[in-house]
């Protein structure tokens, strides 16, 4: 398979901002890679992730995911793209509080029009694999931080995306839970899932990614293949 993600001279400037959030970033991610994007707060890490996911549009430059020119997509096109190609995991989980665990996990498939039986089967598989099947009828408010993040991971994998994007996946949980989440992501990557993780933690980056891209002031400061994972 060709490059999964290809960013070419991507710049994102917000209205009224003096400096761009992302400045002339070029980046490639190959299939099966686990890449950590690191940097201090405000460096542009999350903006980069949003651009890759088509949730925002660059001011200039090109964003390609697979064969898709993501920066050229309409809102509808970007939504369809995300259904098929991208799974998102957020720092604060972003689960819908008025839906049960199973309904949260089913949502991407339902929005994509997947047949009900097929969608439910996939959801049950994921809940079992992530060891939260016993909580399928619970509401997010009743779950621990780790459980919520596992539900979010299950939801992100519902439509078998080519690319998993995680924005500070352990930022809202304790370290033990964070380790657990990290191991899950490792397992997924080991199974072939292309993974891009945004983190400000060098420890996380070192343990769960083979490649670390440092971002500073919106620019790529360094791009290092660490090779080391545990």
């Amino acid at each position: 398979m060709d490059t999964v993600v290809h960013l070419e001279n991507v710049t994102k400037r917000y209205d009224g901002a003096a400096a761009p959030a992302v400045a002339d970033v070029s980046l490639r991610v190959e299939p099966g890679e686990a890449v950590a994007i690191m940097g201090p707060s405000g460096s542009g890490k999350s903006t980069l992730l949003n651009l890759i996911a088509g949730m925002d549009r660059p001011t200039s430059g090109a964003v390609r995911v697979g064969d898709e020119r993501v920066d050229m997509l309409s809102e509808a096109g970007a939504a369809r793209f995300r259904r098929r190609q991208v799974g998102m995991i957020f720092q604060f989980f972003n689960l819908l509080d008025d839906m049960t665990v199973i309904d949260n996990v089913l949502l991407p498939a339902q929005l994509a029009g997947v047949r009900a039986r097929e969608a439910r089967q996939r959801a049950e598989e994921l809940l079992t694999a992530l060891r939260i099947a016993h909580r399928r009828d619970a509401y997010p408010a009743r779950l621990s931080g780790g459980e919520r993040q596992r539900v979010a991971i299950a939801r992100a994998l519902a439509n078998r995306p080519a690319l998993l994007l995680a924005d500070e996946p352990t930022g809202a949980v304790d370290s033990a839970t964070g380790d657990e989440i990290g191991r899950l992501l490792l397992e997924l990557n080991a199974a072939g899932q292309t993974l891009i993780v945004v983190t400000h933690s060098p420890e996380l980056a070192r343990r769960y990614a083979r490649r670390v891209v440092h971002i500073a002031d919106g620019r790529v400061a360094s791009d290092t293949v660490t090779g080391a994972r545990s």
Binding site: T47, N50, A53, G54, M55, D56, R57, E75, A76, A78, A79, R80, R82, R83, M88, F90, N94, L96, D97, D98, M99, T100, D103, L106, L107, P108, Q110, L111, A112, A116, Y139, A141, R155, N159
Partner: protein, 805 residues
């Protein structure tokens, strides 16, 4: 205090949509309420204005001068309770021959004549509409209710007088005035034998007061001297404002607008406070007291509300202007307008309601702890709707965006209930407005006999087209245009009738025709205020072909020997009779006893009698015969084209006219109904817009999550539209019977205000398919109100939505 103002101003800047909605809602409520209350105040206001400005006579007494001397008549002014008196003025009922400049022939008309030296005086000051007061004995001044115009010649016995002016008496104390010396000349050596005395009293507000006043004057005069009295209350009742029939429906709309506006203001204000909870927490954390926080939020609402109230009062006055203008012309009191107290009271009342609606949620916000407010505002958690969400998620055959939308109202049941109620009132207004417009159309059609839009008569030689021959009794229309209703003497000859009937039969498009003749008589039992009764004789066909509405009973028989009549409600009220009673028509030496067989829908201040040509001939022989033909047309035939064709067939000696079928007045009222309905629909739509905007704001982050998971803009739009669809549909279904019930109560109130009953056709205006369509009005209002914010949400960038907390 300046900190509070700054806080309120800052809050306003960030809540432009809510400020606009509050302003518009208050504007609509104020406009509708100003119009309604103004119309209500105006029901008798024009007459009252005129009565006050002209020092109208509370009581006009006709006294027998053979039983009371001039000194005794004058002395009666000192009776208990009399505050002003005028007279005695010599008075006599005469029959006059009247000519009109430019027309051949004369009109014979009864006149109640009074001798007065001037139009002024302490009581019953007359206002001159044209010309001047009589300056010589050969001049006469006519009342605006009498036929004739300046320049007309009036012959009374051997006296030939020229009309010098036309004047108005607010209580119609006479049909005409001459100088006292001329009165003596008309009456002859014996005098008139009657005198008119005009009085104003200290207590005259009620009929009981008037009865006491009349008693005092009667007691002050010799026994038997008082021949008759007319109270201003009777005249006031019969001369009530032409807007009185419209008052019930305007009030109905006004009340609906007020209720919706209160509901929406409560919703908007409550939502503004909820949406600004974080800001409240921030204000408190920097030192604002609870009272200051509450004051800031009340001010935040009050500012757009004041703007809306002022603008609404202006709009209400503009809406009322056309109706007031008509009254001002009728009563010659200058330009009337919405009373000042209404312009002051309504905006203040609406403002007060707005502030009261704001105080509750603002006080709750003020009482919140700073930490709680910030925490609540950052991530308001749903507390309701879980069951609905779960149940609807099971409907896997329904698109997920739809089920997400349907579940949404359950999350905020209080707000949903208020929104349902607001939409319900809006949809009820639509149902009511549609029914009202239909009823009004039917009413006008029935009043104007619009089923027979073509009239055919003959022109006497020498007359230009459009004029009709005088030669009988007539009555001027009050708008100042000269129109003479053809009366006795102006009848078609046998040859003319043959020519017309032949042409009508041969003309394609003819459905039916009837003959028509009219007359105007004073009949027994009618109060003087109506100026007699208008008699109309339809013959040569079924009177029901005219399209005139029957409230009850049947149409009179056309058989020559059968004496039956149909009358309007005012006749029955005035003569204290009912359908089925007998009544004796009396005119001069002719008396005919007839049976009242039907009540005809002819509202207003005129007494109408419908009878066969033979009965008309029996009561007034000169009035027999045929004056014109009325023709009804087959469906799809244009009246103007038909009249042109018939006119070509008949030639120049015949006059054809067509009715437009929709009076200007009808169009104006239907336009007003439409405007008020749309105003209320717009207000209800604004309420939905605010609810949806609030929903979107509260769920902006969730919407971002949906989009991140792959929800397209169309799915977002669908979800939001569906969130209001159920609300709208439920509201619409309930609104239809509510609107129908309102219609069924308002129509009788309107016809009652117009001195009439109502035929069933005015009530039975809703068909089943129509009601089904109207039930969708709520859905349409709801979806229309949701579209703008829904489109915005659909178009918004996912990343921006996710950043919202």
């Amino acid at each position: 205090m300046s900190a509070v103002f700054r806080a309120a101003r800052g809050g306003l800047g960030g809540r432009k949509l809510q400020a606009v909605i509050i302003g518009l809602v208050v504007l609509a409520a104020t406009a509708a309420s100003t119009l309604a209350l103004g119309m209500l105040a105006d029901a008798h206001s024009p007459f009252d204005h005129a009565f006050a400005s002209q020092h109208g006579a509370d009581v006009a007494v006709t006294a027998d001068t053979t039983k009371a001397s001039a000194a005794q008549l004058s002395g009666a002014a000192r009776a208990h309770g009399v505050t002003a008196a005028a007279g005695p003025f010599a008075t006599e009922s005469v029959t006059a021959q009247l000519t009109i400049p430019g027309l051949n022939g004369t009109i014979t008309t009864p006149l109640n004549l009074v001798g007065r030296s001037s139009p002024g005086g302490p009581v019953d000051q007359l206002t001159l509409q044209s010309g001047h007061w009589a300056t010589s004995d050969s001049q006469i001044v006519l009342s605006s209710t009498a036929p004739g115009q300046v320049g007309s010649t009036v012959t009374i016995g051997k006296q030939v007088l020229t009309v010098a002016g036309v004047a108005n008496s607010v209580t119609n104390t006479a049909d005409a005035w001459v100088l006292p010396a001329e009165m003596s000349a008309i009456a002859g050596p014996g005098g008139t034998g009657q005198a008119q005395l005009l009085y104003r009293f200290s207590a005259s507000a009620t009929s009981t007061d008037i009865a006491g006043d009349v008693g005092a004057v009667t007691a002050a005069l010799p026994a038997g001297a008082v021949l008759g009295t007319v109270s201003y209350l009777d005249v006031r009742q019969s001369e009530q404002s032409s807007v009185a029939p419209w008052v019930p429906f305007i009030i109905a709309f006004g009340v609906i607008a007020l209720v919706i506006s209160v509901l929406i203001v409560v919703n908007v204000v409550g939502g503004a406070v909820v949406a600004g909870t974080t800001r409240i927490g921030v204000l408190k954390s920097i030192g604002f007291t609870p009272a200051q926080v509450a004051a800031a939020y009340v001010l935040l609402v009050a500012v757009p509300a004041v703007t809306g109230a002022v603008a609404g009062a202006v709009c209400g006055n503009l809406l009322a202007a056309p109706l007031y203008r008509e009254n001002a012309q009728v009563y010659q009191v200058g330009v009337l307008g919405v009373p000042f107290w209404v312009d002051l009271a309504v905006p203040l009342a609406v403002l007060a309601l707005t502030v009261v609606a704001a105080v509750g949620p603002a006080s709750r916000a003020g009482a919140m702890s700073a930490v709680q407010a910030i925490a609540t505002g950052r991530a308001p958690k749903p507390r309701h709707g879980f069951l609905a969400q779960r149940a609807l998620a099971r409907l896997t055959s329904v698109p997920r965006a739809v089920t997400l939308g349907f579940a949404s109202p359950a999350a905020r049941p209080g707000r949903t209930l208020v929104t349902v109620t607001a939409v319900l009132f809006g949809a009820a207004a639509v149902t009511f407005g549609v029914g009202l417009a239909t009823s009004l159309n039917r009413a006008y059609g029935e009043i104007q006999a619009a089923a027979m839009p073509v009239q055919v008569s003959a022109l006497p030689p020498g007359l230009a087209g459009g004029q009709q021959a005088p030669g009988g009794q007539g009555k001027h229309i009050k708008n100042g245009k000269l129109k003479v209703i053809v009366g006795p003497g102006a009848r078609l000859t046998a040859a003319q009738r043959r020519a017309i009937t032949t042409a009508i039969s041969a003309q394609p498009g003819t459905l039916h025709s009837v003959t028509e003749a009219t007359d105007h008589l004073s009949l027994p039992g009618l109060s003087g205020g109506h100026g007699g009764a208008q008699l109309t004789a339809y013959g040569g066909g079924d009177p029901s072909w005219t399209g005139l509405g029957l409230i009850s009973g049947t149409w009179y028989s056309q058989s020559p020997g059968v004496r039956e009549i149909d009358v309007n409600t005012l006749f029955l009220t005035d003569t204290n009779t009912k359908v089925g009673d007998t009544y004796t028509l009396a005119n001069g030496g002719h008396k005919v006893t007839v049976k009242i067989v039907g009540e005809v829908f002819q509202p207003g201040n005129d007494v109408n009698v419908f009878l066969s040509p033979s009965t008309l001939s029996a009561i007034d022989p000169p009035a027999g015969g045929v004056a014109r033909y009325d023709v009804s047309l087959k469906p799809g035939v244009s009246p103007d084209a038909y009249a042109a064709g018939l006119g070509a067939a008949l030639g120049d000696n015949y006059d054809l006219s067509t009715q437009s079928g929709g009076a200007k007045e009808l169009l104006a009222v239907v336009a007003l109904v439409t405007m008020l309905t749309l105003l209320i629909v717009a207000v209800a739509g604004l309420g939905v817009l605010n609810t949806v905007a609030l929903q979107i704001r509260e769920r902006a982050h969730d919407i971002g999550v949906f989009k991140a998971l792959g929800m397209t803009p169309r799915q977002t739009l669908t979800m939001i539209a569906c969130s209001v669809a159920i609300t709208g549909l439920v509201a619409g279904i309930i609104a239809v019977p509510a609107g129908v019930l309102l219609h069924h109560n308002v129509i009788p109130a309107m016809t009652h205000a117009a001195n009439s009953g109502y035929p069933s056709a005015l009530i039975s205006v809703y068909s089943v398919p129509e009601m089904i369509g109207l039930a969708l009005a709520g859905l349409l209002i709801a979806v229309a109100g949701a579209l703008a914010p829904a489109s915005w949400a659909a178009r918004s960038r996912t990343a921006a939505a996710l950043r919202t907390e």
